[in-house]
Symmetry: C2
Subunit: 211 residues, 2 copies
């Protein structure tokens, strides 16, 4: 038999592609082996099982996503950066639904690379928040808020949770605006419960295309 010449990277890459095209549920070792022209047990030479494969797809996805976010954020600040990162986030989740779902699972605490990949995503978001004057605990809370909002939207959208997909682009833009306003208010000095938002803060610099 001619060898297929696989290695772990190739298997993970093919697994990610399959998951992205047919959904993470459709990713089975039997199916993936078929796609690769190999019998299912052969995959165990490269991956230690289905769970391991899913985790590796997740790590790969997290690194990819972090790269996209980093590119989007480069050279931008404040609301502009938030907007760009939010778009890149949603774009990635829609282009790679299987990888995105895999990346959403808790990283294996024993796998340093998994933790590092997750950290890279968080770090990009955290960097954006410097433009809002947030640091320390405030930045942690704000990072969690942004991640929650973006992930929640993307997750509901993918699952069909919004019913008719009417004006989803606009809804997403509004969500990002709500975050922007809320975070700007949070950073405008304590006590931050009663004061009006600052007036002259620069807003989005590039006009948003109408959906």
């Amino acid at each position: 038999m001619a060898r297929a010449g696989l290695d772990t990277d190739e298997v993970v890459r093919a697994g990610a592609r399959l998951a992205d095209v047919e959904g993470l549920e459709a990713l089975t070792l039997a199916r993936l082996a078929g796609d690769l022209g190999v019998r299912a047990p052969s995959l165990y030479a490269h991956v230690s099982g289905l769970d391991d494969l899913r985790r590796r797809i997740g790590v790969r996805g997290a690194l990819e996503l972090a790269g996209e976010l980093q590119t989007a954020a480069a050279g931008r600040a404040g609301a502009d950066a938030l907007d760009a990162v939010a778009r890149a986030y949603r774009d990635y989740a829609r282009a790679h639904p299987g990888s995105y779902e895999a990346l959403q699972r808790a990283p294996d605490p024993r796998d340093a690379r998994a933790g590092a990949a997750a950290t890279r995503v968080v770090d990009v978001v955290r960097a954006v928040l410097r433009g809002y004057g947030l640091d320390g605990d405030d930045a942690t809370h704000a990072t969690r808020a942004i991640r929650s909002a973006l992930h929640g939207f993307v997750s509901l959208e993918r699952g069909g949770g919004f019913g008719l997909p009417l004006a989803l682009d606009e809804s997403y833009a509004e969500l990002v605006d709500v975050l922007d306003r809320g975070l700007a208010a949070a950073s405008s000095g304590r006590p931050r419960r009663a004061g009006p938002a600052p007036r002259a803060r620069p807003r989005r610099t590039t006009p948003r295309p109408k959906p």
Copy 2:
């Protein structure tokens, strides 16, 4: 053989309990049948398969969740109502993780009850937004924003996506504050991009316990 006396409701209830205690992944017909003192094929008399069971658990969960949210919102308005609903939402997801996950899947378009259950949840959120003066399209976008944020937080929290579970209660409170501020600004009249938030809007009426 003595009959177990099952019916569909009993099977779904037991399935939801199993999913809540051991996770939706642990819900198998074989396991559930064992719990009910019955063989796996017997469940097909009450449920048309594993997928159907999951969907029914989801519908049941959506109705339960809608009830909790409705109770939380009763007699409150504005930021107070938003806060109460947000807490109830998170409480439900933590108390019933399996049902929550099941409810998150897209409802079967052919099942009227599934659609109605999903609608009930959305309606409670939408009702809260009346206290923010939002209606029509604005209310739709705002509803989606709130659902995204709450679901995203709860989903990341459950999946261990926040790393160390440090100060999660506080982060959640801050997230709700960000929503409140952002929505209040959205409702304060158009053009809504530049104006300061209204000053005298009533804030949360009950002090939030420190985490």
